[in-house]
Amino acid sequence: MIMGGQPVKACVSLGTSHFQKANQRVRAALAAADVVELHDVFAQRYLGCALDAGKKLDIFGTPGNDMACFLDGGEVEVHGNVQDQIGNTMNAGRIVVHGRCGDAAGYAMRGGEIFVRDDCGWRVGIHMKQYEGRRPVVFIGGDAGDFLGEYMAGGVIVLLGKAGKHLGTGMHGGVIYLKAPPDPGLISDSLVLEKADEADAEVLSPLMCAYNRLFAEERGAAVDESGEGFWRLRPASSRPYASMYAQ
């Protein structure tokens, strides 16, 4: 809904209200306005669930688990930290976190982008996949916990800080870009670690620019936008378990 050229904006304060009531109020507000600001958020789950394109949630406070699950083109921006499993199976759209995110962010996501300013928890980007034109992106500005990109089947993960252990375990598609080279002894035989090339820089550069636009001011410094100097982690084979199931 556009009035006078500007998207209509609404504000909702959630306090400690139960997630069912809270989500009812948020959905009602989103039906009347394209941009909804949520204040005083405390642990409410499923905020921004399946949000459509053209809609935006601005969240102040700490939302509960499964924020922006099944996101379908909308945008969710959090001015603080988020808890676990954001962007579960998201389809399209964008999540921006001005802080850190918890475990299992971007679980099985198949489209859209997640930008996290600081660290992320464990099992982030596990089972991400890509299909035709959809190529999901998880961008982590800080360090990552263990099992980043576990069982990854497609898409892109960018990590500016340190990776944890069990990086890309069972990965059979997609790519993980690392600014800091991991200990080669920690990389499993089914993965290939190599220097990123110019084609990779072309993928990375717009993502670095996007990260700067979102966070450079609050970080007080910009990251290098050239997209150069990264390491690339890829599966050695697209079917690492083929011999287990078929000859």
């Binding site: 400690t16 676990d84 918890g102 002894g185």
Partner: protein
């Protein structure tokens, strides 16, 4: 056998419990209002089949005595338990624990507390030290007296627990009236075992209390191990082995709580292979010596003791647990929002990482430990005949 209730293995619900902890490292005591609000925010992580609190520092006027919190299903159970306590302990005071009627709490047991000291002569005759003596009698009451259950048995601490949502259990026990330097809380979502009053968290023994979110896949291996040392596992839940493992490793074997936690979440053999030789040797020795104390499965745990709180996540970090600080205060909760709801300006908010314990000690305990040198405190007191210079004279 007719089936009357859903039992272990019949259902599996992939959900989590909620845990929380609040501690003032300076030892100043705070009422139960904050822990109640913190656990209440995570209402949907539990399902009304168990809630409870542990509180440290609530009975300063009886701090030398063991405070037994005992639940009774019947009057006969109380008569039998009091007769038993009368034989083996000397009771300074006994009273019904004040409770408040709460509509959602159905058929609560009769809950009493006793401030007791071991009967000196009987303890001497038993040949046991004080802690062991108390522990054996707690196990006796729990296993032998029908309808009686010791909810806690430590000094200057107590557990308040039952079947219900934690905020209702807290209201039932009027925990707002108690003042403690450390609180822990639990909201239960039982997955593998039935919900009953004794099976609510925290699980306690002596000064230990454990609140736990998750499940222990290694339960049977751990249970067989601790049972060899006289710990009865009869509470129909996996969490109790964690309490007994800490008691075994810390009280009996003299290890620090931090080392005990590391033994329970030992590094994988792959990781040990990558360590420098000295460290690898140490970790290998620990894993070999305490292979049956390795705890597997998804869990986040807050341990309470007279030293403070210790939080630990399983080594694969399959559960969430956050920690935040403000001045002398330390806050733990399954979700960050449950910390901010009681301390909006908490600092250093971060997750407790997998397999890396977070230790919050009382300042006084930390100072004492800082001064202590391991050379001056042998782990086990040697027996008299090992260090005595003269053979013991045989009585004529």
């Amino acid at each position: 056998m007719p089936k009357t209730a859903i039992r272990e293995g019949d259902v599996r619900i992939p959900s989590g419990c909620a845990i929380a902890g609040i501690m003032d490292r300076s030892g100043v005591r705070h009422d139960g209002g904050d822990i109640l609000r913190s656990i209440e925010l995570m209402h949907d992580r539990s399902n009304g089949l168990g809630g409870g609190f542990a509180a440290y520092g609530i009975y300063p006027e009886y701090r030398e005595l063991y405070a037994f919190h005992v639940m009774y299903e019947t009057h006969e159970a109380r008569v039998a338990t009091e007769a038993y306590l009368d034989v083996y302990f000397m009771s300074e005071k006994q009273e019904r624990i004040p409770t408040e009627p709460v509509p959602s709490i159905k058929n609560p047991p009769d809950v009493w507390r006793y401030f007791v000291a071991p009967h000196p002569m009987r303890m001497n005759m038993s040949g046991l030290d004080e802690s062991e003596y108390v522990m054996r009698h707690v196990f006796h009451i729990n296993s032998q007296i029908e309808g009686a259950f010791v909810a806690s048995s430590g000094k200057d601490m107590g557990a308040f627990k039952g079947v219900g949502y934690p905020e209702d259990i807290g209201e039932f026990y009027r925990i707002g009236d108690y003042r403690a330097w450390a609180w822990t809380a639990h909201g239960r979502f039982p997955t593998n075992t039935p919900g009953w009053w004794g099976g609510a968290h925290p699980f306690t023994l002596l000064n230990w209390s454990v609140v736990h979110n998750g499940e222990i896949s290694s339960y049977d291996a751990n249970r067989r191990y601790v049972e060899q040392f006289g710990y009865d596992c009869e509470l129909q839940t996996d969490t109790e082995v964690i309490t007994y493992l800490f008691d075994l490793l810390c009280r009996r074997h003299g290890l620090s709580q931090e080392l005990a936690a590391r033994i329970m979440t030992a590094p994988s053999w792959d990781e040990i292979d990558r360590m420098p030789p000295d460290r690898a040797k140490f970790e290998t020795d620990l894993r070999v010596t305490y292979s049956s104390a390795l705890v597997n499965g998804p869990f986040s745990v807050i341990l309470g003791s007279e030293e403070g709180l210790l939080a630990i996540n399983d080594r694969l970090k399959l559960r969430a647990l956050m920690v935040g600080e403000k001045g002398s205060m330390v806050y733990f909760a399954s979700e960050q929002a449950a910390i901010e709801v009681v301390c909006p300006d908490a600092e250093n908010i971060r997750p407790v990482e997998g397999g890396i314990p977070f230790v919050a000690q009382l300042d006084e305990v930390a100072r004492r430990k800082g001064l202590a040198a391991c050379e001056n405190s042998p782990v086990l007191n040697p027996l008299a005949h090992e260090v005595g210079v003269q053979p013991k004279r045989r009585e004529a």
